[in-house]
């Protein structure tokens, strides 16, 4: 096991010790034990940075199930490293924040930090695994730990609802992804990501290619909350705020982005991939930003804003994949979209993390997150206000923050979409910049709502739960301050991250690198007046301000669409419908009546055997080996037949028993005719005893059952005739098509010589095949004991008497 593997699973190992640490040192906030680990990991991953920038990828393999080609191989390249740094860096900040956010006395800290460590380890595993099965295993672990974290306050109904919803949706996608991985394995014969990428050109035309593409994308879209699977994310806001900040803005929801980016070199040769990724991304972008405006809960706004920004990154990844089709374009004509995606990924993690923490502080200090109750906090919480302004303005895409840079590049990428001359991009591609611009207006709008509705306006202390709101403790402010500092630093000096972005692009577009292209990322603030992006941004600001000014006049459109048609109600009704449907289905055939079940069994018996006889053409009738029929046998058959049929029409049960006895005796006579004296003896005795038993049972029946004639039912008649017919046909066919001679000759020869007996039946029973006899004896013993127990052991007797 290498140090890299140890680093990936170190959070899982630490998770084992957290409960005992929590118990041993109750005076110290458990989070302090946790904090060094992500900091150390961050430092460790930083040490990979020089190598990765030089284009070297570290690879370590640990054998797990080599016979199935499943190895825990960890690979650190640009993309993996960016995510690993985000996970450990923001992880450390979130842990620090949570130490001040979660109360030591009131909360179950041991559980919280175990879940959080599980999540950190799982997420590191997802982004650093080179083996798809291992990636899937960690992927499910992120879903699972996210489920635990969302349901952390499990005494709240909404928490449990949100946890269940996110679990169902992400596991649904994860499962589909597993299907995609297995299909991919069928095409490539390897689970290794890097080997799959190397084989990308060979598998494009494969029959399974589209199926794999759809399965994998389904996994990525559900995880990254893309339309229409975004509905779990707003409900996941029931989690504690550090969790929302970490999982549902910076890390887990980007696992789908990671997957799409990672597999872009495999699938991007297919036009469908570009359309699906870019199309769903841009729809998500618009729908998320549009829906965010109507919310009054700050975390609700941020959740939809996350959805929208994830859509933005996704659409950029989709359009940027077009670069693979045009390697001849110089100056990164299409690769700018990938640059923008990676850059925005980084920026989003910084400003969204700080915004969530800011909301947590507001919630913590005022007791509410509803913007209708908040207002005028600017002078009371100046530092928080500053954080909110920087984060929101960056999110809105205003200079001089980093969001502005990525938004400009986003517009550039979108404007170039229509120049992609295939898959109808040249005509429909014009929609991309238009939708993107409208979505940006809404983004600007809700960013302004977050800042101005919360911090400006009239202070309403009577609406707040906390009487005297004040600035948060410094410990709570450290993490968001670090994050907004990053926002500002990257905003002013964007090129400090450009080597990392180049390295990430190298791992998203490796074939272009191999073709000799270099990714030379230079991010500028100023594009000049003639660039359309600048005018688009100015337009966004003007339109956004106008919309904000006249908000009460047009927000009525949100109430126009009835709740009935929303995706959430579709999910709720779908879930309830599945349950009631399954319930109805089960109740429809599970009638609790043995008669019905026997009908199923026999009808199935007839259908299956009949169909087999017909389809296999198995019926055969061969009279060559049939013995001569004697008159006496005919008479006996007539007796049995008359007896059996009379049972059906018997008026009383007494008659039935007597007829049954007569049939049994006639059968013993058959045994005698066919020279089976032992059978005949046994049959006679058993028949007598059975009749006696029937009489015994009959006597005990309630009086009203005494003389009831059997009712006639057509279905029963059909099925019984069918069963008899099928059995007869099969017996005839079996007799007519004997494949080989019987082995009975051996017994005839050896009964006396080897087993010292003259009665062959008895010698077989106790000598040649005595094993069966032993267990028949056991059966009789069990039956006898059972009867005895049924009669003697009456647990309810005491109760009745008492």
């Amino acid at each position: 096991m290498s140090l890299l593997h140890l680093a990936i699973i170190s959070p899982l190992i630490l998770a084992i010790f957290i409960p005992s640490l929590h118990k041993r040192a109750p005076k110290i906030h458990t989070g302090w034990f946790l904090l060094p680990l992500p900091v150390l990991l961050f430092g460790y991953f930083l040490s990979f940075l020089p190598g990765v920038i030089n284009g070297e990828a570290a690879m370590e393999t640990l054998s797990w199930i080599p016979s199935l080609g499943i190895d825990f191989s960890a690979r650190v390249d640009g993309l993996g490293l960016l995510f690993a740094l985000l996970i450990t860096g923001i992880g450390a900040l979130v842990v620090l924040y949570s130490i001040y956010y979660l109360s030591k006395e009131k909360e179950k800290l041991n559980q919280f930090y175990v879940y959080l460590l599980l999540f950190i380890g799982a997420m590191l595993g997802v982004v650093l695994s080179d083996n798809l099965i291992v990636l899937y295993a960690f992927w499910e672990l992120t879903s699972f730990s996210s489920f635990l974290l969302i349901g952390y306050w499990n005494y709240r109904e909404r928490s449990r609802y949100g946890a269940q919803k996110s679990m169902l949706i992400t596991v649904f996608g994860g499962f589909s992804m597993l299907g995609g991985i297995v299909l991919l394995y069928l095409m490539t014969g390897t689970f290794s990501v890097s080997e799959t990428i190397a084989m990308a050109g060979e598998i494009v035309g494969h029959d399974l290619f589209i199926a794999v593409l759809l399965c994998i994308l389904l996994g990525a879209f559900t995880k990254s909350a893309q339309f229409p699977f975004h509905i779990w994310l707003p409900d996941a806001m029931e989690a504690p705020t550090p969790v929302s900040a970490y999982l549902h803005s910076a890390t887990m929801v980007k696992a789908g982005i990671y997957l799409v980016a990672r597999l872009t070199p495999v699938f991007a040769y297919e036009g469908l991939w570009i359309w699906l990724v870019a199309g769903f991304g841009i729809i998500t972008l618009f729908w998320g930003s549009f829906s965010a405006v109507k919310h009054t809960d700050l975390k609700g706004i941020l959740a939809y804003s996350t959805v929208s920004q994830l859509g933005l990154i996704m659409s950029l990844l989709g359009l940027g994949a077009a670069a693979l089709h045009y390697p001849e374009f110089e100056n990164g004509f299409y690769t700018v979209a990938i640059t923008a995606a990676v850059f925005h990924l980084l920026n989003h993690a910084t400003f969204k993390g700080s915004l969530f923490m800011m909301v947590g502080i507001v919630d913590h200090e005022t007791g509410t997150r509803d913007i209708r109750n908040l207002g005028g906090l600017m002078t009371i919480m100046p530092i928080t206000f500053t954080i909110a302004v920087i984060g929101s303005f960056s999110m809105a895409g205003l200079p001089p923050f980093n969001g502005f840079l990525s938004k400009e590049m986003f517009f550039t990428g979108m404007l170039r979409a229509q120049e992609i001359g295939f898959f109808n991009m040249d005509t429909l591609g014009i929609l991309f910049p238009i939708i993107a611009w409208v979505a940006s207006v809404f983004t600007f709008l809700y960013s302004m709502i977050i800042v101005f509705k919360t911090f400006t306006g009239k202070f309403q202390p009577e609406k707040l739960k906390v009487q005297k709101p004040h600035e948060a403790p410094i410990g709570m402010l450290i993490s968001p301050i670090i994050l907004v500092s990053l926002v500002v630093i990257i905003g002013f000096f964007p090129n400090i991250v450009s080597p990392l972005i180049e390295a990430v692009m190298a791992s998203i577009l490796p074939t272009l690198l191999a073709a000799g292209m270099e990714f030379d990322v230079h991010i500028y603030h100023w594009h000049g007046f003639e660039s359309p992006e600048l005018w688009m941004t100015i337009g966004v600001v003007i339109a956004g301000i106008l919309l904000y000014k006249f908000m009460p006049r047009w927000t009525g459109i949100y109430t126009r669409m009835p709740e009935r048609f929303s995706l959430n109600s579709a999910y709720d009704h779908g879930l309830a419908g599945i349950q009631t449907g399954a319930n109805r289905f089960t109740n429809a055939y599970m009638t609790d009546s043995i008669r019905t079940y026997l009908i199923y069994i026999f009808a199935f018996f007839v259908l299956i055997l009949g169909a087999t006889l017909i389809t296999k053409n198995a019926f055969a009738l061969d009279l060559a080996n049939v013995a001569e029929i004697h008159a006496f046998e005919v008479v006996l058959v007539v007796i049995i037949a008359v007896g059996s049929v009379s049972i059906l029409f018997a008026k009383s049960r007494m008659t039935t028993i007597i007829l049954l006895g007569a049939v049994g005796y006639a059968i013993s006579l058959f045994y005698a005719i066919f020279r089976a004296p032992d059978l005949a003896l046994t049959q006679l005795v058993i028949e007598t005893i059975s009749v006696a038993l029937f009489l015994l049972a009959f006597y005990r029946l309630p009086k009203k059952w005494h003389h009831e004639r059997m009712k006639f039912k057509v279905s029963n008649a059909i099925i019984s005739v069918g069963v008899g017919l099928i059995v007869t046909l099969i017996a005839l066919s079996a007799h007519s098509s004997k494949a080989f001679e019987s082995i009975s000759q051996y017994y005839v020869e050896n009964t006396y010589t080897k087993a010292a007996g003259e009665n062959m039946v008895n010698v077989i029973l106790v000598d040649f095949r005595s094993f069966d006899t032993l267990f028949e004896i056991a059966v009789l013993g069990i039956a006898a004991l059972g009867v005895f127990t049924f009669i003697k052991l009456r647990m309810s007797r005491g109760k009745e008497q008492g």
């Binding site: 008359v642 008659t655 007829l659 005698a672 004296p677 005795v685 009489l695 015994l696 006597y699």
Partner: protein
């Protein structure tokens, strides 16, 4: 020659059994059926005896004895049932 007589005898007994079966089926009362069943048992004795002559074997002689015993026991059981409503009297002292 002997075989022919045996077959004739068997046939005659078969007709007798058919008659008894008719009585079992038809009734009209339960004792009729029980007597018919008893008769069937005795006829079976004859059938098995004739069969063992026909088949030239002595292994069916046990069956003859057994049928005799069973027919007796069965008829007694039925009779007791019809008379007293139960077959084995329950001894409450046990």
């Amino acid at each position: 020659m002997v075989d022919t007589f045996l077959y004739i005898a068997l046939f005659a007994i078969s007709i007798a059994m058919s008659g008894l079966i008719y009585r079992v089926v038809k009734g009209p009362s339960v004792p009729d059926r029980v007597i018919a069943l008893d008769g069937l048992g005795i006829n079976l004795v004859a059938v098995v005896a004739l069969l063992s002559i026909l088949l030239r074997t002595s292994v069916f002689l046990d069956i003859i004895l057994l049928i005799g015993i069973l027919a007796f026991i069965g008829t007694v059981a039925f009779a007791k049932y019809l008379e007293k409503g139960e077959i084995i009297k329950r001894d409450r002292n046990l």
